[in-house]
């Protein structure tokens, strides 16, 4: 399921996520964390990136019919992009509100759907952009700079 992981010379990691492919979402975060550890990045930066990937990939698995997670390592930052085809988000401001969720009982039973995903992503990102079209899909772009050590996610 996770063999879609590919490397390019610029270090780009890509994961394909299918509808309700919940397991892969967690795998993405685990895999990227291990790769970034090998690159020698700081623990708190790695953790923030892993959290963003976990939450963003879960959102794709939960709400979209298919999607892609791309992690691009740049000299001074990492960008995480998720692009999906699916229902889209009607009201992004509302979706960003902690506690707001449209997840089903099945999702909640798994320990997700608490309405914390996007706010967790926002908290861990230096830059965050979300664009969505209802009935078409959603694109999320999150950036984490290596130098900003003041906003650690792990304390």
């Amino acid at each position: 399921m996770v063999d879609s992981l590919t490397y390019t010379p610029q270090i780009t990691l890509e994961f394909k996520i299918g509808e309700k492919d919940f397991f892969v979402a967690g795998e993405c975060a685990s895999r990227v964390k291990k790769t970034l550890q090998q690159l020698g990045l700081k623990q708190n930066v790695i953790k923030r990136i892993a959290i963003i990937i976990y939450e963003a990939a879960m959102n794709v698995a939960i709400h979209a019919t298919s999607g892609m997670v791309t992690v691009h390592v740049e000299p001074d930052a990492i960008t995480i992009r998720t692009e999906d085809v699916g229902a889209g988000i009607e009201d992004i401001d509302l979706a960003m509100k902690e506690g707001y969720s449209t997840a089903t009982y099945e999702i909640r039973e798994m320990g997700f759907g608490a309405g914390m995903g996007l706010s967790n992503i926002k908290q861990c990102s230096d830059d965050l952009k979300i664009e969505s079209k209802v009935g078409v899909g959603t694109t999320l772009n999150a950036k984490v700079y290596f130098q900003d050590q003041t906003r650690q996610a792990d304390g």
Partner: protein
């Protein structure tokens, strides 16, 4: 407090983790059943107490550098989850006790939540 002592205090069964793993010390603990809360609040090297038994618990534990996971209320994960714990070197324990009793017993033994 070592994981071995945690196991004894909580009358827990070891699902994975050898004797060497159980010698690891643990001083902070976090209990919850929401993955997003785990990602938000878990401090490195914590003992995670949860009643969730799916693969996401291991993923979250791995991402957040958890020292060990304790499953409560007699719940046990599938073998695939236990294997994942083994592969990620995360000891897994299971007890019949419920969350409140686990936390209470550990608190009495000096295990606290992180100060921050």
């Amino acid at each position: 407090m070592t994981l071995k002592e945690v196991q004894e205090v909580l009358e827990a069964q070891v699902l994975c983790g050898n004797d060497e793993c159980l010698k690891r010390g643990v001083s902070i603990c976090f209990a919850c059943d929401l993955i997003s809360e785990m990602l938000l609040y878990l401090k490195p090297h914590s003992l995670l107490i949860t009643s969730l038994t799916n693969a996401h618990v291991i993923h979250a534990a791995q991402v957040m550098d958890v020292k060990a996971v304790l499953f409560v209320g007699g719940r046990k994960p599938d073998q695939s989850v236990i294997t994942s714990g083994e592969l990620n070197k995360i000891p897994l324990l299971a007890t019949q006790l419920l969350t409140f009793d686990c936390c209470g017993r550990l608190y009495e033994k000096g295990i606290k939540t992180d100060k921050q």
